[in-house]
Structure formats: C-alpha cells, structure tokens
Symmetry: D2
Subunit: 146 residues, 4 copies
C-alpha cells in the first residue's frame, strides 16, 4: 500500500485558515480521523458563505453529501495551525466534487487530502435540482485554471 504523493498548495484555488482544538487529538496524541472531515466541512462552509452562498436557514441551498473520503499523508493535531486549500474536480448539472487539502503551518505539501461529492437538492422533496447559474458561477471559481 504505497502512499500517494501529497498535493501542493499551488494546486488549490482558495484557502481558509483553520484552528485545531485540544479535544481533536485522540489517545494516540494526533488528530482523530473523523475530525479531518469536520475541518473540511468548516472550510467549505466558510468559503461558501464568504462568497455569498446561502447555506443556512429555511431558504438555504441544501447540498447533500453523497460521498466523502480522506487520504492521510502525515500526522497533524493540536496545537497545529492549519490551512485548507479548496478546488473543484467536477461541476455537473446538480452536483460537484470538491477536493480539500489540509496544510500544517507553512508546509508546501498537504498533510491530508479529502473530498466531498455533493448534490443540490430541493429543500422539501430532497430530490436533485439543477445548480442555479449564479451559484454555478461562484462555485466555478474553484475550478482549475485551463
């Protein structure tokens, strides 16, 4: 099981600073595996809100997570200061795949890389619905430069 090469900062399009907490470390003295996803969640939500996407409240855009994943390259944990890099690997009619790199301090290489595959659903029926143009425009800022 060869570990893949870790992504560099330049491969991401937006960045969010993240703080670790005392309780993030489990009894192995490093960040618990589940906590990485909680940080991915936070980074993506903060970026979406900072870019005008309404993801809270009754009229909010409801992006359902259908799949998530994480590759752990190097151990991190409290009290590390972290930076999350964000990029879009796919932007479909009603879904997207966002990839997140987690960087420790000033490190150029990601200590962890994860993704969320999300589908925009109707708030009442939970059925997939097309991503509105304005939202698509915002999300496409995270697409790779071609």
């Amino acid at each position: 099981m060869k570990r893949p090469a870790a992504a560099n900062r330049e491969s991401f399009r937006a960045f969010v600073s993240l703080q670790t907490r005392w309780a993030d470390n489990d009894e192995y003295g490093h960040m618990n595996n589940a906590t990485y996803l909680s940080l991915f969640d936070t980074a993506l939500s903060l970026w979406q809100m900072q870019n005008g996407l309404d993801i809270r409240g009754p009229q909010a855009l409801r992006f359902l997570v259908v799949e998530s994943g994480c590759k752990y390259h190097a151990e991190i944990g409290f009290p590390d200061a972290l930076t999350a890099g964000l990029r879009l690997a796919h932007l479909g009619t009603s879904s997207y795949r966002v990839e997140i790199g987690l960087f420790r301090g000033d490190s150029a290489q990601a200590a962890a890389e994860g993704f969320f595959a999300q589908v925009l659903v109707d708030n009442s029926t939970a059925s997939p619905r097309p991503i509105p143009d304005a939202v698509r425009k915002t999300l496409s800022q995270l697409l790779p430069v071609t």
Copy 2:
C-alpha cells in the same frame, strides 16, 4: 451522480451496536458527515478489543489509517439506534482494508458504507511492519466466506 445500491446485512461478518447522541445532529437535523467516521472508529475498536487485539497502551498494536471514505445512502441521526457491520475487503502483509456498513434500526440495507485502509506500524519508528500471525488470524474472521 447515481447513488450506488446499498449493502445488505448478510454481506458483513460481525456486528456492533452503536448509540447516537444529541450533538451528532448538525443544524440540518441529521448526523454530521464527520460523525459517521467516529462511529466506524468505535465499531472497529470495540470489535478488535472484544477479539483480544491490544490497540491501547504503550505496547499496543498501532494501526495507522492511511485512507478513509464514506458513501451516504440515507439520512440517519439522533435518536436512531444503529448497528455497524464489519468485513475485510483486503488483508495484506502489513495492511488491510476494513469496510463498515451502518444500519438504522432493523433496516436490511445500509444507510451508509465506509472503509478504513490501515497499516500496522512500529510504535517507535512508525514504519510498516508485518501483521503477526495471531493478529492475522483474528482479523481474517472478517474476510468473506468463500
């Protein structure tokens, strides 16, 4: 993005009962995405300890998680009573891939399916080391019946 068919209980080899908590639900009223991994962690750890594997303390087996993932088929959350099903998809020289299905109440189909790819490492050097025979024998109980 078509959702894959959810796994059935029969495809798993061991089961662990899991409890949800009030704080597991996020403001969407369902279990937060990261919490699923925390439940996978708990199910696997409990099974390992119940089967005599020493995963805590200074002389413990140290299985490093190199990759994790989760597919979310149906929403679950507090106060659901859950059952985790466990099976091994791969058992290599120093690594394995364990798959976990999360079942809500008496449901026959998994509400979520996840995995951990783990490598046994030396406690001091953190380098991969072969899984000892006794440990391999225990873990192989989770392999599919052929």
Copy 3:
C-alpha cells in the same frame, strides 16, 4: 480542594445506558471534559423522548440551558459502558434543574456528577413561558420521593 463524596445510584430516579466512543478519549487517555456534557445532553434527551416529551421539530418544547456544571470524581473513558442517573433538584414555574450522575460499569458511586439549569422558552420569542401541566407531570417523575 477536597473532592466531595460521589452520589450513589439510589439517589437518582431514572437511568439511561450510554456508550463511549474511541474519539471521546483525549491525549491523556481519558474522556475529554467536554464529552461528559454531551453524554448528559444525550441521557436527558433520550429520557424526555421516551417519556413522550416532544423536544425536536418546529412545534417542540424548547428548553434553553442557562447553566451547566460537572464534578469529576473518577476518570472514565472509552471503552467504558456507562449509565446515567437522572433526578430533578428543582421544578419551578418555567425552569428546572436536572442533576445527572455518570456511573462506570456496575459501580455504585458516580464517576461524575453534573447538572443543567433549563428554562422553557417560547419558540418564536425565546421568552420564558410556564411549563404546561402535562410536561410538569412528566418531569416530576424525576423529583425525589418524599
């Protein structure tokens, strides 16, 4: 700072079984201080729902926590099986104080004791409102026998 004597099981009126999780332990190898409150929350919520109190959804009773506290008598943590004991120390017009004891395995003495002071508030205005008679009757099951 002398530690107070720990409460016995007999001093509580209702009991809820609780499960610990791998991630509950922090790097000291014992349950993180904050997790105790999460378990108190869960025990009280489960008891309220099992006794017919509607604490979720748009028409739910909304009990706001105005104060909480916890005394830690003995260390507990994953993989301990726990039992929470519940009792009411005060039942006022619109508020109550519930006390929770956390017992490890079959131990007769609480490993931790906590409380929540809660006020019933209006769902729209968040102003205190009188506890309805039916709810008061349910909660009074947790009052000490006199």
Copy 4:
C-alpha cells in the same frame, strides 16, 4: 431564575482567538452546550503553551479538572468568530480556578462564562503535588490586578 449580568472584557487578563466549526451547531442551530467546554479547554491550553508551560508529552504538567461549569448568557454558534478571555479566581498550593469568558465578534459582554477547577497531580500516582514556583509565576499573570 434570573440570568446574572455578563462579564466585560476588561475583567479578563489574557485573550485567545477561537474559531467555530460547522459541526458545533446542533439541530437548534446554535452551538451545542458541550462545545463551550471544548473551546475553554482549547483557549486555556493554547495560553499555557504560549507561556511556556509543558502540558503535553510524558514529562508534562498534568492538571486534572475536578470541576467545570458554564453560564450561557447569549446564543452563539458557527460561523461566529470568538475571543476567550482568561483570568484566575484562585491560585492555591496545588490547585487553581480559572475563569473563561467567551465573546462573540467585538461584543464587550461575554456570551458565556465558564470555569475549570484544576489540581496539579503527579504523573504516576495522580496525587496532588505543589505547583512549582516557575509555573506559579506564569499562572499568576492571570490573577486580577490589585
């Protein structure tokens, strides 16, 4: 149950910036009660490490929490930016009581106020031991100016 007046920033001696996370909010849409303690923990630990106290690793100072508490004055939650204020209410031979105020954004009044009563214990025996002079000197920076 009258809510006490909230503490002002001026009554604290040191400050730590804290970040909220998506998963901090429970299904009421505000920060879960237990998460406040996790933030107190983090603020105190960061301050201790920034001031040279060794609280991690095998030779670390081990401050055991014997009691904690929190008064909730106003609701906070993700995505609020928070500041924790720290002060010492008591510094004894082997114990202290640290009080923490949690401030939302630029607010002058604490949204929540909590405390930890902690005892310095021997790493092997867990018995109380006197706080060393150098540590006492560091901690006394958090005592009120007289």
